[in-house]
Symmetry: C2
Subunit: 288 residues, 2 copies
Amino acid sequence: MSLTLDPKAWFSESLMDTGIAFSLKTVKKLHEEQSPFQFIEIYETETFGTLMVIDGAIMLSDRDNFLYHEMMSHPVLFTHANPKRVLIIGGGDCGTLREVLKHPGVEKAQQVDIDERVTRLAEKYFPELCDANGDPRAELHFADGIKWVKEAADGSYDVIIIDSTDPVGPAEGLFTKAFYKDCFRSLAAGGYIVQQSESPLLHMHLIRDIYHALDDAGFRDIATLNFPQCVYPSGWWSATMACKDGPIAKFRREDAAKADLKTHYYTADIHQGALAIPPFFKQALYKD
Amino acid sequence: MSLTLDPKAWFSESLMDTGIAFSLKTVKKLHEEQSPFQFIEIYETETFGTLMVIDGAIMLSDRDNFLYHEMMSHPVLFTHANPKRVLIIGGGDCGTLREVLKHPGVEKAQQVDIDERVTRLAEKYFPELCDANGDPRAELHFADGIKWVKEAADGSYDVIIIDSTDPVGPAEGLFTKAFYKDCFRSLAAGGYIVQQSESPLLHMHLIRDIYHALDDAGFRDIATLNFPQCVYPSGWWSATMACKDGPIAKFRREDAAKADLKTHYYTADIHQGALAIPPFFKQALYKD
């Protein structure tokens, strides 16, 4: 009774030895190219709109990218007391940048992705994600994020968002103590970092590694947000947040509730709920 | 770059025209049979333990069934003021029953599944889900749930849990006004119903139908709980709850917090968070 998925009609992904695969029915392949950094494919799917795939891993679809982009941006921005200078490492599809720029208090948002082709293809195939790229507060840089943060002036950012691919290949260095130390140094007092941190069901070992690396880099209080993300393995994803100094603050709930962000998923209640940590997660985190 | 999933090595599911498929890598098929009601398969998977499939749809895996079973039981039981008499329609794998029986106040829990074979196979292949079947408060009946509720005495239950398969095939009648009317009549004052209600991302039309059918049956206040469930389509699932009379109460948060239920996912904070409804959900619910 197992279905046969014709690879001509379905895009299927199974990565990192999870023993699971996720597939989307495709209408046609719209584009493919080998950039200097990675192999990028764009598909039209039957039910999820346009799909971007990098090195065989699904990056985003029209239908459900709002979940990830909203949860990578609004929780951390409503946790910082008054974020003005935001750095996004990765995030070449510009979806996180768009959400960040919905916050009127943000004065500058720099997006630093190593691969300009991701952004150029997003402009063509995901134009709605790029509709804030012309905002005078937005700066798009195509450079190595690790080098960028290494060279950043001390205390030059309020919030750093690591909107990276999986911790294999080009993004591997974005999950290390050395990189987090540079982030720590680049953050101003009261600054926050947030890192996409994979699936709570599948990747607790990676989440634990991220906690240890952040801790080793000097971050003292660490918290994870959980949210659904259909096109990523297991359909359940997370973002892990840490404060440069002192414990992670209660988020600015009233500001979140009264902000008119035109979100599809994020609300103050969703934010609060995303911080609830299940027992299995705590056990896995502290088992060694 | 699309992966080819050999159907000899992977179990793949794609149902209800969602345009997505989910696959688990299998080690071997442990069992298959045509019961009088449905085709049941049991697989050993590489990373998700034992897997049960009914009519081509994944029912449960060892690895992640705790999410669904805990969220189908504890939220509704901590919302009712003092649940003593619980009816489970469907739920033949006994996982929901086990969670229900963790509540010491429950005096009787009846499980009514049409297909005895599901329970017999669960006893063999998912023994940990059946470890409360010998509890003197547990009653296992193998009968038509629709008929059972039709013949139930007025006001004979405090909580009715509809732990059904998808609303196609044998379970279709469990999503109708006629069935909900019988549930309404069978509930005592202050009684609650909860129904598994598919994926918020994929099935908002079904969730809307459930709201309308519950409303038509006399239920006046309706709320949905959201939770992750990797092996179900989109990895994001829901349960919809309604109270026989009056608005849905705030749940007994202190009782939930101090109960020692040995859950892996459910906590009072998770419960609160699961009630947070995203904007897109509200819009889809009330758009007509």
